[in-house]
């Protein structure tokens, strides 16, 4: 009964999406000064729809929690003996469930927008909600027609077939919802951009409405990517933290677009410049979200041929992609000319630096898109090529290096126009840091070029990030500025971690007998014992390693080689020793015939900084949101106060005060 309620809620939500679309569109046809009688339904439709879609997701969550094996989805993706937390997270560990989550978040953000956003003109809001309804409708149709999560089995299964053990991990429990919320938050930015474009309201007021959505989505994407990268690092058992895998690229591309959009929308809000850029990036960002969903969800990555054999789902998403992206860019092409260009600025100005970096971000996006899609394209013609780190790293560095340099200088520039002479000291400092660090590091050893450049840039960027605070009273610096400083500093921290990992990692692979000792960096690692142990749905061989750092008291690490039986698969559970200056990464492999065990050890200096940096970047985003919201609330309170005072003055019958000449 519960799943049927979910299904009914989903159908009703789809119907409301139609109402929202029609009603929103009707507001565009109202005569000036009047309200179209149809237009009043858009907001309530969006809100009720949000409740229904969330309800549908909640019912599926419940079915997974109680392992309702009469549901096809539960039977094929869950197992009664899984721990409860992984039963719940299994809800989005499969195609249908994750699409339902996607749609749930989409509806919820549409509901939030229509419930709380009162600043936009009615026509713009109507157009925005119409677009949001149109997007939602497509994905409801996809769920209901091509991937119904509530499908029942004719006969309930005796036992479920379980969840991929790699996904039975807390990292993967939080990673997809965060990422999806980010993807879908961009849908609101997209709808707002289209709404503003359709009603010719591309102005700072619109940008201020759009900004928190972009910032919020960007924060979630940042956290999602950071969590995903750390998960891959400790769960896959080989110490890699970024593989340029298409699935990773699918999350990186919206992030790149959202980063550019966030900066662009800030310029529009503050300076009324970059109007067309903001709209274009708004369309691009959500297009990348949908493309990411298509790549991950259509099965096209496993095999283009498998996709061609059973194309229903993939073709459906591809069709939606075509309609939304094609439609949006068509409207953009038709209307962009009508959007005035906005305020002008010199090349050497903060706007100029932002434009430069937006172009660089877009170029990196183009490279990642090319490297991700090209192999899929050639595979369709039976030519198989691989595009990996040796391609992505240098190709994206061509654009990333100038971008990072400009990023160091940009926040120091004045708006509108600036003189290089004013920044002589800062420019010299940044250049000296880049060159000095690179020279210093290459003096001590031979390292690959990119990590070397990364170290130099990270040092310069870390210093440059805090330079905007120079000469300012710290207590009076706006919260949003702190956000920028911390986010930029976070990029430097992350870059430092990546460069250190690339340049200084040490690896030790060895077959070790019980009692044997291996040396890596300053660590002595002794294999004390190997014991079989059992978990709720797995068995494992667990090694006990005592690690002593430079003769200090030993610390115990216990990596496991786990074997799951449903579905049958084995995973390596790495054990990590985290120090402030890096991580010791230990994995146990197979036993050789002579009784020795394969042990893999890595010492990765400062590798944790990669993810600390990611968290700092996200924190910066949160501060930026908090700062903007605080200013907004203050402004609203002040204008309400002003209005009351004016009303009081009028009630007293006193003459209005004449402004002093």
């Amino acid at each position: 009964m519960i799943p049927e309620i979910g299904l009914a809620a989903l159908w009703l939500a789809a119907a409301l999406a139609v109402l929202q679309m029609v009603s929103g569109a009707a507001s565009l046809r109202a005569a000036p000064g009047e309200v179209n009688p149809l237009a009043i339904y858009a907001r309530p439709a969006a809100i009720v729809q949000a409740f229904l879609a969330v309800l549908a997701f909640a019912t599926l969550l419940y079915s997974f929690a109680v392992t309702d094996l009469s549901l096809k989805l539960v039977a094929s993706n869950s197992h009664s003996m899984k721990p409860l937390i992984y039963k719940l997270t299994g809800t989005w560990g499969n195609h249908e469930g994750s699409m339902l989550l996607w749609v749930g978040v989409l509806a919820a953000s549409g509901g939030l927008l229509s419930a709380f956003e009162k600043r936009l003109p009615d026509r713009t809001m109507g157009a925005t909600l119409a677009v949001q309804g149109f997007v939602a409708l497509g994905f409801y149709a996809f769920l209901l027609l091509a991937s119904n999560p509530f499908e029942r089995l004719p006969v309930a299964a005796a036992e479920g077939s379980g969840l991929n053990p790699l996904l039975q991990d807390i990292g993967l429990a939080i990673h997809p919802p965060t990422l999806y919320a980010g993807y879908v938050g961009l849908s609101v930015a997209f709808s707002l951009a289209m709404g503003a474009l359709l009603t010719r309201e591309v102005n700072p007021a619109f940008a201020r409405v759009m900004r928190p959505w972009v910032l919020g989505a960007w924060v979630l994407l940042t956290l999602g990517i950071t969590a995903g990268s750390y998960w891959a690092y400790y769960e896959l058992g080989w110490g890699g933290w970024w593989f340029w895998d298409p699935v990773e690229n699918a999350s990186l591309m919206p992030w790149l677009a959202a980063t550019a959009l966030m900066h662009s929308v800030s310029v529009l809000a503050a300076r009324d410049a970059l109007r067309t850029w903001t709209i274009m990036l708004g369309v691009l960002a959500f297009s990348m979200s949908m493309l990411g969903t298509f790549l991950v969800r259509s099965g096209v990555l496993t095999s283009v041929h498998a996709f061609a054999v059973d194309p229903e789902r993939g073709a459906f998403i591809l069709g939606l992609l075509g309609i939304y992206i094609g439609g949006a860019f068509t409207i953009f092409a038709l209307r962009a000319g009508a959007v005035a260009e906005g305020k002008r600025f010199a090349a050497l100005s903060r706007e100029g630096a932002l434009v430069f970096n937006n172009v660089m971000l877009s170029a990196i996006l183009a490279i990642v898109l090319l490297g991700t899609l090209y192999p899929l394209l050639t595979e369709a013609f039976d030519v198989r090529v691989s595009v990996g780190p040796p391609y992505f790293n240098p190709a994206s560095a061509i654009f990333a290096i100038p971008m990072l340099l400009v990023m160091a200088v940009g926040p120091l520039l004045r708006w509108k126009s600036d003189k290089p002479a004013r920044l002589q000291f800062e420019l010299a400092l940044i250049a000296a840091l880049v060159i000095g660090v690179i020279a210093l590091v290459s003096f001590f050893g031979q390292y690959p070029l990119l990590p070397l450049l990364g170290l130099g840039l990270a040092a310069a960027l870390a210093v440059a990030a805090v330079l905007p605070l120079k000469g300012r009273k710290l207590t009076r610096v706006p919260v949003a500025t702190w956000g920028m400083v911390i986010a930029h500093f976070g990029i430097a921290v992350s870059l430092f971690g990546m460069a250190c990992e690339g340049a200084f990692s040490e690896e030790r692979l060895a077959a070790v007998a019980v009692g044997g000792t291996e040396q890596i960096d300053d660590f002595k690692v002794t294999l004390d014992s190997v014991m079989p142990i059992a978990g709720p749905n797995w068995t494992a061989m667990q090694a006990q390693l005592s690690v002593s750092d430079n003769g200090a008291a030993p610390v115990i690490l216990d990596p496991q080689a786990r074997t799951f039986w449903s579905p049958p698969q084995s995973t390596s559970e790495s054990a990590l020793l985290t120090k402030w200056d890096g991580q010791l990464y230990a994995v146990i492999g197979n036993q050789a015939e002579d009784g020795r065990w394969q042990i893999r050890l890595w010492w990765k200096p400062f590798v944790t900084f990669i993810w600390y940096g990611g968290i700092l970047v996200a924190l910066g985003g949160v501060l930026a949101i908090a700062g903007r919201v605080r200013v907004d609330v203050k402004r609203r309170v002040a204008s309400a106060k002003g209005a009351r005072r004016r009303a009081d003055v009028e009630a007293l019958g006193a003459p209005a005060p004449v402004p002093a000449e």
Partner: protein, 145 residues
Amino acid sequence: MIRWWLALVLALAALPLAAQDTMPPAPYAYNQLSDPKLEAEASALMHTLRCLKCQSQSIADSDAPMAGDMRHQVRSRILAGESPEQIRSWLIARYGDYVSYEPEVSSTTWPLFAIPVLVILIVAGVLLRRLGRRRSDDDNAGEAA
């Protein structure tokens, strides 16, 4: 093609059963070369070779027996004095372009190199248009005001 994928899936499914009780397929699959310089060369090469039985993993990042086998091949050939590029072309001859993560310019991969050049040109064009012209506009605006 489909049959090939099926075989792959079956091989993957059988993997955990085989993994626990067989010895590593080859001595250099899980053991490093004693010369750190040669090992660094081998490791750099292994990170750019695709594990053919995994989804988007290099042979340096995989537990699949085939990846172990290939690691053994790479290390023993490096030890025998072959250059990384020789080994790469030997593997490409054996498994096709797909095995190498480092695409080379060829009749099937030229767009991978042509398009970035195009992107650089577009970037230069956009920047010149957006930023290069700006100064004179600003001067005009200044004169008008």
